[in-house]
């Protein structure tokens, strides 16, 4: 009789995939909390976390480097999930915010000799403020027009980088001799191992924070903002303020991914943050499943590993262009056949297969 609030008969696979999704449920007469051992989703995430901690000691540094890139991008995609999947806004310009984070961190480390953790925090703040500003037009413009507007931002960003070449290094960008993110000598880790472990921790914190944001009173407000802004207003949601807050947080998160990505790579060039990168992030968000947090990881893995896969199949030089095509095709196919994304689809399958016996 007592079914969980977070698993309504397959209607919202999204919430099921959230890390440790809402744990309250009702039994006849009252609201109770589900004990931790009865939350399969929490278990799955814990297992994944443990695998993440072990992985650096199982695979090569080269493979780790790739995997770290997946995680930095997953952070940005998770930010996009909050904005698109939860709040129902759209940003086709998150690549620019990722780039803004990367450039801010690189400039602070390279030119001002900041310690990398401080540079990362500053990059988060800068991207957050930029996102808040991008949110301003979103108060008036919605849907497709907002998409176009944010695409324009994505398109202008590399041009701005070239324009202010004194600060950004122009077309050649900024390079460091090596990544500043290195382990203390005594730890006995390679930089790649350390960076990956760091990213595992950061991704975990980001996903937990975003999950917290998208549940409870604020989560309901965000949901109402997406489903019916007029209803949200009359329920007491300050829709304008919430929209800006969500844009700010989503962008700050994208900037965090960018800052760590840039510093791990020890290099930023304008070409990395072209409009295509923004659209690639968008396709990662949709293909993975914009309403699931696991989707951020799947989507990021998809866009990082796909070009490699294609290059292996058809030779290296044209691989990049083919990937763009495949991203676009994957985006369309997902929209048609798996509207809740790959993670959402898997979540629904699992829910279907695990719930049957429980129901009796």
């Amino acid at each position: 009789m007592a079914t969980s609030i977070s698993e309504p008969a397959g209607a919202v696979p999204a919430t099921q995939a959230a890390p440790g999704a809402a744990s309250a449920l009702t039994t006849p007469g009252r609201v109770v909390h589900r004990p931790i051992w009865r939350r399969p989703v929490t278990w799955a995430w814990t297992a994944l976390f443990v695998v993440g901690l072990l992985l650096p000691f199982l695979i090569s540094d080269y493979d780790l480097f790739k995997a770290t890139r997946v995680l930095t991008i997953a952070i940005a995609v998770a930010g996009l999930n909050l904005l698109i999947g939860r709040a129902g806004q759209i940003s086709a310009g998150h690549g620019a915010l990722y780039g803004l984070g990367a450039y801010t961190a690189m400039i602070l480390v390279k030119e001002l000799d900041w310690a990398w953790p401080l540079a990362v925090l500053a990059a988060v703040a800068v991207s957050g403020v930029a996102g808040w500003l991008i949110g301003l037009p979103a108060l008036r413009v919605r849907g497709l027009n907002l998409g176009l507007l944010t695409i324009a931002i994505a398109a202008v960003f590399p041009l701005l980088l070239n324009r202010f070449s004194g600060l950004t290094g122009g077309t050649v960008g900024l390079q460091l001799a090596g990544s500043p993110i290195t382990p203390p000598e005594s730890w006995g880790l390679t930089p790649e191992q350390f960076q990956f472990l760091l990213l595992v921790l950061v991704v975990t914190v980001v996903l937990v924070v975003l999950r917290n944001l998208s549940t409870g009173p604020l989560g309901r407000s965000i949901e109402a903002l997406r489903v019916n802004p007029l209803m949200a207003r009359s329920e007491g949601v300050d829709v304008n303020r919430l929209t800006l807050t969500v844009f700010g947080i989503s962008s700050a998160v994208a900037g965090l991914g960018g800052a760590l990505g840039g510093l791990v790579l020890a290099s930023t060039v304008p070409d990395s943050y072209s409009m295509f990168f923004s659209l690639t992030l968008l396709s990662a968000c949709v293909v993975g499943g914009s309403r699931t947090w696991a989707g951020a990881l799947l989507g990021a893995a998809f866009i990082v590993y796909l070009p490699d896969l294609i290059s292996q199949q058809i030779g290296s030089t044209t691989g990049g262009q083919w990937s763009q095509l495949v991203y676009a095709a994957a985006l369309l196919l997902t929209l048609f056949f798996l509207p809740s994304g790959v993670a959402g689809g898997i979540g629904r399958l699992l829910a279907r297969s695990t719930r049957r016996p429980e129901r009796t």
Partner: protein
Amino acid sequence: MPAAAAPPASSAESPPALGARGVGLSFAGLRALDGLQFEVPAGGTSAVIGPNGAGKTTLFNCISGLYRHEGELLLHGRPLGRLRPHQRARLGVARTFQTPALLDGESALQNVALGAVAHSRVGVLDSMLMTPRRRREEQATLEQAFELLRRAGIDQLADRPVAGLPHGDRRRVEVSRALMSAPTLLMLDEPAAGLGAEEARDLLREVEEVAGPGTTVLLVEHDVALVMSVARRVVVLDSGRLLAVGTPDEVRADPRVVEAYLGAEDVDEPAPERLHAVSEEAS
């Protein structure tokens, strides 16, 4: 509160729950509301009636703050001015929609809990960091939401997604959500549509009981017999204009109401237009 804003009529008692002074609104040339002047006494249930397109929902939207309008609206004697919808909600204005507006992907319990956001003290940081304050408030909210569902007789649906619920249950979820914010003015836009006469009466009695004496219920309703039996004051609109306002007996006796709205029929008989909403919503 400026002295000039105090309602002239009732000086001794508490100010009216709602006052309208010259409220008007045009949609691209269509005069949807025109110079509305009336008061709704504090406490109990009052009603707004009128034929389709009379401007009842538009009036609710003005009170919610969703539409800008001419003239002045007063909530318990306080001018609402340009206050935005969420600010009005925090002052105690709550409503339901003519077609229930719910979070379709969420459970009934979550939908009712949404009603608590108007008075939530949980900030963005509290939410992100899952502070004890947030945990405490959330637990209290869910328990209160569950209690409201129980009093509405649908607690067994608490965990069910509202998307699949029958119309009457969706309606109850929405009304419970509105009650969740402990409103001082509760506007119900055709809450009885799609319900049987018996069910409708029960719903209204329940709402009054749960809301308590501090809440004024303002009802839009097509079933005139129902309105006449529950309302303290009836506001009659026709094509955006105030046709009559008064007690059910006064309104019933008003020749303009009888002529323009109720027609030649006895008001206790259901007129075809009153059935409109019922047939439209029936599933």
